[in-house]
């Protein structure tokens, strides 16, 4: 039965091996579900968040996975709108990754808010000026889009495709994918940006606050750019990982290299803007609200090394590597660079979510630290495990890499 669900002509490990692989992740998922249950049933006192650290691990996770999930929209946009057909071989994988990241983020958000049963109030009584409203609307819509993008992949499963109505619907839906790609790109632009805006608008947190460019703070645009840099790297890295784990070539090397190039280009643009933005912030935005910027880096844990790591180590460095054709064509350069790109973006999200809250605003207030509780970690792991499981199932039973068969056939 398992065999008949696997795409014809591709090789997958034996079922028992697959179960063995799934099992630990399923256990992690179960543990995470228990942690999340505790948070929902007992309340968020189960976490180590508090009135000062009102956002913690989860929001950090949300921001990071959504940045990583940007691969879905960016690849879709390049493939369907800009017709970069070389990306066809990773689009399915990118869509699945996007779906995992976004649905995971939304699940965690539902645990994170205190009143999930009233969360629909945001739709019914929206405050259109709130970045979070924008994020909520866009995330929900985009998740719908991702589901619609994922649906065709599911419908092309070997067994499901036998139902003519599904396949015909899939066929027609796929033909219109350009619309979803466009809508996805549009929505992603807004919510990736709004996630940045989320912190950029915090007038009361001068560490995060940035001047407006138009109607949005500069972090809006920085987030869009950094997400576009992270997305391809994430697709690249997961593909590479899956190749390593399944011991198969799934995607042409040129495609990998092309993804690296995309990351590099976006990253260098991002770093450029980020540097200008940081300079303006240090010299004007922050001091004008009574906060000397160097004080932010006065704390043992968050020295200027953070800024250096973000801009140079995990920014400029991988960008330059990825922009050089010769280097990015070699896996030993390409993969670590992708890791660095992701580390840089993850660090950026960390700084914005955690450091912002750790830093005091009132002169007499103190710098605070926060360590997530096991329930928070469990919920976090739940999303990771869910992602691995969904990806593993998709990889096994869906045709994620169209090039897989020809890459394993030498003619």
């Amino acid at each position: 039965m398992d065999k008949l669900l696997i795409t014809r002509g591709v090789q997958r490990s034996p079922f028992w091996k697959f179960i063995l692989w799934i099992l630990p992740w399923a256990m992690l998922l179960a543990w995470g579900l228990y942690g999340a249950y505790l948070c929902l049933a007992e309340g968020l006192n189960q976490t180590n968040m508090d009135n000062r650290f009102a956002f913690g691990l989860w929001i950090y996770l949300d921001l990071t996975v959504i940045a990583f999930g940007a691969g879905a929209f960016f690849t879709g946009f390049l493939l369907y709108i800009l017709k970069r057909h070389e990306l066809k071989s990773v689009i399915n994988s990118a869509v699945v990754l996007g779906l995992i990241c976004y649905s995971g983020a939304i699940v965690v958000l539902m645990v994170d808010v205190g009143q999930p049963l009233r969360a629909w109030f945001t739709f019914w009584h929206p405050n259109v000026h709130s970045m979070l409203t924008e994020v909520t609307f866009c995330l929900t819509l985009y998740l719908t889009v991702l589901i619609l993008e994922y649906a065709p992949i599911v419908m092309k499963n070997r067994q499901i495709r036998k139902v003519p109505s599904y396949l015909v619907f899939e066929f027609n839906l796929h033909k219109l994918m350009v619309v979803f790609a466009g809508v996805g790109a549009f929505l992603s632009f807004f919510h990736q940006g709004s996630l940045g805006g989320l912190y950029g608008v915090l007038r009361g947190r001068p560490f995060a606050f940035r001047e407006d460019l138009g109607i949005w703070p500069s972090t809006f645009f920085l987030f869009v750019l950094s997400a576009m840099a992270a997305g391809p790297s994430f697709v690249l890295l997961t593909t590479w990982l899956v190749e390593k784990l399944s011991k198969k070539r799934l995607v042409k090397r040129e495609t990998m290299s092309y993804l690296g190039k995309l990351s590099g280009v976006m990253l260098i643009i991002y770093i450029l803007f980020k540097s200008v933005d940081t300079l303006i912030w240090i010299n004007s935005t922050s001091p004008s609200s009574g906060f000397p910027a160097f004080e932010y880096y006065d704390r043992a844990a968050f020295g200027t090394w953070v800024l250096f790591a973000e801009v140079v180590l995990f920014g400029l460095l991988p960008a330059l590597v990825l922009l050089r054709k010769k280097l990015r064509e070699r896996m030993v350069w390409l993969i670590p660079s992708a890791v660095f790109v992701l580390a840089g973006v993850a660090l950026n999200r960390f700084v914005l979510t955690i450091q912002t809250l750790a830093l005091p605003t009132l002169v007499f207030d103190e710098f605070l630290s926060y360590m997530p509780s096991w329930q928070e970690v469990a919920t976090f792991s739940m999303v990771i495990a869910y992602g691995v499981l969904l990806y593993s199932l998709s990889f096994r039973y869906l045709h994620l890499f169209p090039q897989e068969r020809e890459l394993t056939q030498p003619y």
Partner: protein
């Protein structure tokens, strides 16, 4: 009969830090008035609820020259670009145009806590626990203030229940205009040294309007530009320098230099 005949107020406070003894009567009175629950024994200073927090601050000089001041800190009722209002995704926070009071409606709140990250004064509190009172004490709750539930944010609203009461009292006499002495927040009423003045800042004759204009008056983090309506008073230079970090730093430099 229309709304325009009702006077628009801007309620504000002036807290004299040179008088405050840090006794904490204000925050207890506040909690009693606003049905803030005693909470669980596990509660600590970072995850409990107190609409008003009193900070003990020192001028940083070593033993035996240290000077101490107490700073009661509650919602500062920002008037301009109120940080928490614009961030709330579902309009659970708003500035009442008639009173200038920043209102937080727990029943609308979904508990995302975005407003808490937005507030520079850390004056917002989240109900990490189910509010619980010892047996029988629910009968002794203030009927004018609804208890909140777990998973929502709450904060000072200048004892709005008392404004309701004052309005009802005025209405019973057929008037729309409240008697100012009917509306005094619990902390103001409780302060044993009368360190807090409260009233309508629009009314030039009130104590609070006078104090707000005094030379001793300052506001915390005023450079954020949110135009808070809670003023602090101190004649002590080092206390006034606590207003923001730039000022605090300038002190250090003069000390060293």
């Amino acid at each position: 009969m229309d709304q325009t005949t009702v006077k628009k107020s801007r309620y504000g406070m002036a807290i004299d830090l040179d008088r405050c003894t840090g006794c904490g009567a204000c925050l207890i009175a506040c909690a009693v008035e606003n049905n803030v629950s005693p909470g669980q024994p596990k509660v600590n200073e970072r995850n409990g609820t107190t609409w008003m927090r009193v900070f003990e601050v020192q001028d940083g000089r070593p033993f035996p020259d240290a000077q101490t001041a107490f700073i009661p800190m509650m919602c500062q009722q920002c008037e301009v670009e109120t940080p928490c209002v614009s961030v709330c995704p579902q309009n659970a926070v708003e500035v009442d145009p008639e009173t200038g009071i920043v209102g937080q409606i727990p029943q609308r709140c979904l508990g995302c806590r975005y407003c808490m990250t937005a507030c520079p004064y850390h004056a917002r509190y989240y109900n990490w626990w189910d509010p619980k009172w010892p047996d029988g004490m629910e009968k002794a709750l203030n009927p004018d203030v609804a208890p909140r539930m777990r998973g929502v944010v709450e904060k000072c609203n200048f004892c709005h229940g008392r404004l309701h009461e004052a309005r009802a009292r005025a209405a019973a006499q057929g008037s729309r205009q409240i008697n100012p002495s009917d509306y005094i927040p619990a902390c103001v009423e409780a302060c044993p040294v009368q360190a807090i003045a409260f009233g309508d800042l629009n009314d030039e004759s009130t104590d609070v309007a006078l104090l707000a204009r005094s030379e001793r008056a300052f506001r915390f983090l005023a450079r954020l530009g949110t135009e808070t309506k809670v003023y602090y008073l101190s004649g002590r230079d080092w206390v006034r320098r606590l207003a923001d970090r730039e000022l605090a730093r300038s002190k250090k430099e003069t000390l060293h230099g």
